[in-house]
């Protein structure tokens, strides 16, 4: 046991009100290994990660169990002692580097900060330089004198990692380190994390919601649901043949860029902290539930020497059988496009500079088609969406609806044109007016664009909620009372209320958990089939593209660089940029193949 650096035993955490939020979490980690701590929002993964440093967020306390790093127990120590150990034994890299780095402190000083506190006698300059080199950043004086805002997102995250590594801890906790980064940057960073653990014999706890990313890095995986570990074992085994139905469901909802397949979502909604049931927390959503599941919480049983599962019925969990997606092109012959974009050029005028978001972009969408517009952040895809919706006036070029050119701004377009093009926004938290009831939000487009009476619109609300698979009772609630997935469904229902021919979906799943994302994508596919909707699907996630789109446009710096049907484009990308994107996209298939 001497080669174990991190031991967590029976960790229990609760709110001050006594509500348990993390329960009997135990695991061990050896040097040079990566543990992927996976879970959706609210599963308690970040709370657990922070507890590894003996830290709790305000209002939370460690109620029991021990965390031991290099033979030293962290739990139960006073804060003063903990502060001496943090950074030396175990370090934490917070989620969002843009907000975790102090904007008014030079990056070199931020990296050296821990060292100054813990080992003031060491040569600060040299250590900082070495640590920066370790994370592949320039160690020059000039670079170290920069402020965080002068660095790119990937560089910021590296600074945060360097700051954690500067005292050479034995264990590093990385909390969603690549969330918010572009795929290409993400794949570079993942590669470097892999190198670091080899070079430094570093034990890494990698917290993430993204199974595909974890798959590329982790040796061990622990899946959390409702505050408990439900499955833990060797990464390859767990990912290839999950034994817990939640892990199974999660893996079935991950889209894959290399293998277009139908996503299967997990039915139901994740339980919140306050309303965890007596029995297994997953039982209400579980397809293989039996009587005992709702009465007793199963224990985390060892099914193989290094594989533990918390399920009574684990042997019944089916094998993963991804179902290939059948291309759903219904149209027989070529149809006139519903929407055309011709020679579009769009700019953002700043005070003293102009950025070009789209240069000479042309494409067309056929009725009932799902066209994906792919590109990294800053490639101009959202601006194109806004031009189509009439929210941004293009500098040149035009938008053509059924052969008729449209006015640049929505206010000047005829009502019929506004009705036929609808847009759904990225962030469900701010696309619904917090002061309006769900019913009013959905009814508004029906009243304004279809001129329905109040009564007809109310009736339509009921139908639309059903159509997006939401209970009718939601109509009388405010957005703050809904989950992220429910909000996004309401936003979709609002778009459908206008009876559109084309829905522009601007990154609509990027703020959602994978299982929720799968459910929303499933819903969109059904709606397309039912209503013959055309979709312009804007995303940076090639996995999502593979599971929904018919045709793909790749956008680089405002220029279309490749266009083609989804299958060939993803399997045999022609353009250099597309190739890079495809190569960088995290995927589960590569890993599963050898098993």
């Amino acid at each position: 046991m001497s080669d174990v650096v991190l031991v967590v035993e029976d960790l229990q955490m609760e709110l001050f009100s006594g509500e348990p939020i993390v329960e009997d979490v135990s695991f061990q980690l050896e040097p040079g290994k990566v543990l992927g701590l996976v879970g959706e929002s609210g599963s308690g993964k970040t709370t657990t990660a922070l507890a590894l440093l003996g830290y709790t967020r305000p209002g939370v306390r460690i109620a029991g169990g021990t965390v031991t790093v290099c033979g030293r127990t962290l739990t139960g120590r006073p804060e003063r002692e903990l502060r001496r150990l943090r950074g030396q034994l175990i370090a934490y890299v917070p989620q969002d580097p843009a907000s975790s780095l102090n904007p008014s402190v030079r990056v070199g000083d931020q990296v050296g900060d821990l060292l100054r506190r813990h080992a003031p006698d060491r040569d600060l300059d040299r250590e900082v330089a070495r640590t920066l080199e370790l994370v592949q950043l320039p160690s020059s004086r000039e670079f170290r004198r920069r402020f965080p805002h002068q660095l790119s997102g990937g560089q910021q995250q590296r600074i945060a990692i360097a700051a954690a590594l500067v005292c050479r801890p034995a264990v590093v906790v990385l909390d969603e380190p690549t969330t918010g980064l572009d795929v290409v940057t993400q794949s570079h960073l993942l590669e470097e994390i892999g190198l670091l653990r080899q070079e430094m014999e570093l034990a890494i706890v990698y917290v993430s919601h993204d199974l595909a990313v974890v798959a590329s890095l982790a040796d061990q995986i622990a899946v959390m649901y409702a505050g408990r570990i439900v499955e833990e074992g060797q990464a390859a085994g767990v990912l290839a043949a999950p034994r817990h139905p939640y892990t199974w469901g999660l893996l079935s909802s991950v889209p894959d860029p290399h293998e277009p397949r139908r996503l299967r979502s997990i039915p139901g909604v994740a339980v919140g902290v306050g309303d965890r049931p007596d029995g297994c927390a997953f039982a209400p959503r579980c397809p293989q539930r039996v009587g005992v599941c709702v009465q007793a919480m199963p224990t985390l049983d060892r099914i193989q020497p290094d594989w533990r599962v918390r399920c009574f019925e684990w042997h019944r969990t089916p094998t993963l059988a991804p179902e290939a997606r059948t291309a759903a092109r219904l149209s027989a012959g070529p149809m006139p496009p519903v929407l055309g974009v011709e020679g579009l050029r769009a700019e953002h005028r700043g005070r003293d500079s102009t950025t070009v978001a789209a240069r000479d972009v042309s494409f067309a969408i056929s009725p009932g088609e799902c066209l994906a517009l792919v590109g990294e952040s800053g490639s101009g895809k959202t601006t194109i969406a806004r031009c189509i919706a009439g929210l941004h006036a293009p500098t040149r070029g035009r938008i053509v609806l059924d052969g008729t050119p449209l006015a640049p701004l929505a206010g000047r377009r005829p009502r019929e044109a506004r009705r036929r093009i609808q847009i759904v926004f990225q962030n469900p938290n701010d696309s619904l007016n917090p002061r309006h009831l769900v019913a009013d939000t959905i009814a508004r487009p029906a009243r304004v664009l279809r001129k329905l009476s109040r009564k007809e619109a109310q009736h339509a609300v009921g139908e639309l909620l059903e159509r997006v698979r939401l209970p009718a009772g939601l109509a009388k609630r405010f957005p703050s009372e809904l989950s992220g997935g429910e909000r996004q469904r309401v936003a979709i229902a609002r778009a459908l209320a206008a009876h559109p021919d084309l829905v522009v979906c601007d990154e609509i799943t990027s703020a959602l958990d994978v299982s929720v994302q799968a459910a929303v994508l499933e819903l969109l596919a059904t709606l397309r089939a039912e209503l013959g909707l055309a979709l312009l699907f804007i995303t940076h996630d090639l996995g999502v593209v593979a599971s929904i789109a018919d045709r793909v446009l790749v956008l680089e710096d405002g220029l279309l660089c490749e266009e083609g049907p989804v299958g060939p484009l993803l399997s045999r990308p022609q353009h250099e940029y597309t190739r890079r994107l495809v190569a960088a996209a995290p995927s589960l298939t590569e890993l599963r193949a050898p098993v």
Partner: protein, 282 residues
């Protein structure tokens, strides 16, 4: 129900509860006090500057009018005018701020520079000039005090509007082709009202003080109106003989501003807390 509870949460703190009680007490005094006035507030009922006795509980003023009766009547003008001026300021300020914040044309800088011009005048000086130029009456007073408040309200509303105008729900309504006033009224206004009204209490206090000052200087309400500030001005010569004629209205003005301030503070604090909680919940 929960919304109501959240709104009343400010009453939970000690100072908030005290302020609320004091406000109710003063409001009662101002509204139904005149019913209990023992004498005609404008009538000369005794000899000047009499000390308190059984007939005149707070004595008489420099003209021989009953101080208690005048105190009971004298709150209406000050509170009423302050509320009216503050309300007017909010209506105009919100309208200007919304238009300026939402407009992306020259309207915005034009409106805001006009606001800056008003802001450049010291409030009291502005009111004095206004009173001298436009006459010393109630309408001018209300208009003047409202004008003093409008620029700062408009600035806050403009900033909040700009922040809200880029939200998805606003863009969705723009893409629907809603008219500008519908966007402003349905989508933006309900979401910024909390922020904008957070300092309403402090503004009301400000109005009370300004109106009291102007009345005291003799440029607002004119004698023989019963008004607390005016009473202080009229009777300050006789303070040594009959301190009550000055002390009673002065105390009430002080009490009023403190009470309104306490409530305003408590409301602002509870609003801040509830938004902070929401952020944690995210």
């Amino acid at each position: 129900m929960t919304a109501l509870a959240a709104r009343l949460r400010f009453a939970r703190t000690g100072s908030g509860r005290f302020g609320l009680a004091a406000c109710f007490l003063l409001l009662a005094l101002i509204l139904i006090g005149p019913l209990f006035a023992p004498h005609d507030p404008a009538g000369i009922v005794g000899s000047p500057l009499q000390r308190p006795d059984a007939n005149f509980l707070l004595g008489t003023d420099s003209l021989g009018r009953d101080v208690l009766s005048r105190v009971l009547w004298g709150g209406r003008s000050i509170v009423g005018l302050a509320a009216l001026a503050t309300g007017l300021a909010y209506v105009v300020g919100i309208a200007i701020g919304l238009v300026a914040g939402y407009s992306r044309t020259l309207v915005d800088p034009l409106l805001m520079r006009a606001m800056d011009v008003i802001l450049a005048f010291p409030p009291l000086l502005f009111l004095l000039v206004l009173a001298t130029g436009a006459g010393q009456n109630v309408d001018v007073l209300v208009f003047g005090v409202a004008t003093v408040h409008v620029p700062s309200i408009a600035r806050i509303v403009r900033a909040a509007t700009q922040e809200t105008a880029v939200r998805g729900y606003v863009e969705a309504s723009v893409a629907r082709g809603e008219r500008v006033h519908a966007v402003l009224r349905h989508e933006i206004l309900p979401n910024i009202l909390g922020t904008v009204l957070a300092d309403a209490g402090i503004r009301l206090t400000g109005s009370i003080i300004i109106i009291a000052s102007v009345n005291f200087l003799g440029l607002g309400l004119q004698p023989p109106a019963a008004d607390w500030a005016l009473m202080i001005a009229e009777n300050r010569g006789g303070t040594t003989l009959q301190p009550w004629a000055v002390a009673a209205p002065a105390f009430l003005i002080a009490f009023l501003t403190v009470a309104v301030n306490l409530v305003a503070d408590a409301v602002a604090r509870s609003l801040g807390r509830s938004t902070a909680q929401k952020r944690v919940a995210r």
